[in-house]
Amino acid sequence: MEVGRLPISASQRGKLISAGYTTLSSLSSLSPSVLAREVNVSDTEAAQILKVASHGSRLDGSEGGCATINGAQTAWDMLHEEEMFPRITTSCVDLDNILGGGINCKEVTEIGGVPGIGKTQLGIQLAVNVQIPVDYGGLGGKAIYIDTEGSFMVERALQIAEACIEDMSESDGLLRKDFKACQLKMHPNNILENLFYFRVCSYTEQIALTNYLEKFISEHKDVKIVIVDSVTFHFRQDFDDMALRTRLLSGMALKLMKLAKVFSLAVVLLNQVTNKYTEGSFQLTLALGDSWSHSCTNRVILYWNGNERYAYIDKSPSLRSASAPYSVTSKGIRNSASNCKRIKMM
């Protein structure tokens, strides 16, 4: 049984989830004061949450005791957990639709495309969107951005952050909610502050950082997304021993997958494209070879179609393959302009 089904208030539930407490077992060994500090609630509130939680887990036990092995879950629980967990929006409705609502937590999503298609833009957008507060349907989490190529521009991140806050206050005007408290919390500078930026300059640094992430995230439990832009760059230089490269890459992929599962966060890996020689012709595929393609849960390919940018679901265990247009605007990733026109015409 997970936290989402506990009879507690929505804001408490949100705080628990964004602090990384998703299952009752994760709460079982905590003292009220520790919980109060970790999720930022009062001591009495924390004590009440723990009481409800322990009651819930006893109930769970009497229902038949699904947790025969510590840490095991039933598929039913997993389904509920997945449904309950919010997804990270891409700010493009069409793209969200084909992704089933956005980028999913606990999964590794690989996004690839030709240079200039908007991989870095999408990366920055996700790093900003993960910070949308729970009240606005977001995760209220923090982001880790690992830059291997040097394409992250701080002015662009600021621009996207400003647009994101603007959009939220607009939607707020429509819903006439009390916005004041959130407005104070969300300032473009706060968004930059909650974006942990790492610049790595070699593949050894990249591997070292991947190994260190587990420790870093356990100290920053509210990190909800890890973006690597790009996973490829340093692995395309200086590798004569391809077997070594494959081993290093799959080791790194396993680490990232583990992070996604343990901390219930989304991992987004940006990848480059390359020409692959098959059956006498060159074809465009994502880089790093065939064995790498097993390393990700989902695979999204970005490509040009006429003068429009499109995204295509190439691989996913739960999504059907589909494509959708998107555009890169001054505000960040948005719906494709021509698509909006079409809707207006109808």
């Binding site: 030709v114 040097g150 992250f152 390359t274 001054s330």
Partner: protein, 295 residues
């Protein structure tokens, strides 16, 4: 040492940029060529790549208050000869524009190095690193220009899979090293590239790199040389185009003598892709004094 995240608020909220010495061109590029990354400038020959690079090497010496980097530059040329007379001409014009700033010849702060092959470029990169950490002049090096990268790679390699693989591995090695230098010393790195004709009009599906719709030069559709692997190695990509345009003004004369149709060269600078810029373009002219944008 454990890696620590950089606090984005502790550094300037806009990436430092190197002015081109012209407000219109700077506006098109949101301030100029960005530091800490590689910008590629590609065009067919005679479009003004070298002109722009020479001008950049001069304007990098301007103080930060005027949009420069107050730094000297390292100019690696692979096409011969080095246009030193043109550089002198430009530097003369440049000094008369900013008489208060330049007491000595700005050419003294431009270090020129010739490179003949891709391997040689890779060899001098470590030397460049020691040069950058201990420069011989009063201004630290803030700009590296490689003019052109294409010349190194277009002749030496055969069109076989093994050679092409070696070539792209070299691309990534050179680019990785340049990015490391750019990051460590806060450099703007500019490389120039040549063009090839685009044979298949639309490319193979998904093959297009950037939105190629704008890439017309001399009435032909072109795309940057060195292929997809190299495209992955640069952060921003700029394009200079040149097209002849018929002037309509001398209508009366056209009837008399059909050969006297006046043409005018129109040059444009296009942003093909850049992480911080929207696609856009700016018209420019090349004069005795340098490269300038026009509205």
């Amino acid at each position: 040492m454990t890696p620590a995240p950089e606090n984005l608020l502790h550094r300037p909220l806009t990436t430092p940029k190197c002015t081109l010495g012209c407000p219109l061109l700077d506006r098109c590029l949101a301030g100029g060529f960005p530091c800490n990354s590689i910008t590629e400038l590609f065009a067919e020959s005679g479009c003004g790549k070298t002109q722009l690079c020479l001008q950049l090497a001069l304007s990098a010496q301007l103080p930060v208050s005027l949009g420069g980097l107050s730094g000297s530059s390292l100019y690696i040329h692979t096409e011969f000869p080095f246009p030193s007379r043109r550089l002198h001409q430009l530097s003369h014009a440049f000094r008369s524009t900013y008489p208060a700033i330049f007491k000595t010849d700005p050419c003294d702060s431009i270090f020129v190095h010739a490179v003949h092959s891709a391997d040689q470029l890779l060899d001098i990169l470590p030397k460049m690193e020691s040069f950058l950490s201990d420069p011989k002049t009063h201004l630290p090096v803030k700009l590296i220009v490689i003019d052109s990268i294409a010349a190194l790679f277009r002749s030496e390699f055969e069109n076989s899979p093994v050679e092409l693989k070696r070539r792209s591995s070299l691309f990534f090695k050179i680019s990785g090293k340049l990015k490391l230098l750019a990051k460590r010393f806060g450099l703007a790195v500019v490389v120039t590239n040549q063009v090839v004709d685009l044979i298949v009009p639309e490319g193979i599906n998904g093959m297009r790199i950037g939105n190629l719709a704008c890439l017309y030069s001399s009435g032909r559709r072109v795309c940057p040389a060195l292929g997809l692997a190299w495209a992955n190695c640069v952060n921003s990509r700029l394009f200079l185009s040149r097209n002849e345009e018929v002037e309509k003004e001398e209508k009366g004369l056209v009837d008399v003598d059909a050969n006297r149709v006046c043409t005018r060269t129109r040059r444009r600078l296009h942003v093909v892709f850049a992480p911080h810029l929207p696609e856009g373009s700016c018209e420019l002219v090349i004069t005795r004094e340098g490269v300038f944008g026009v509205e």
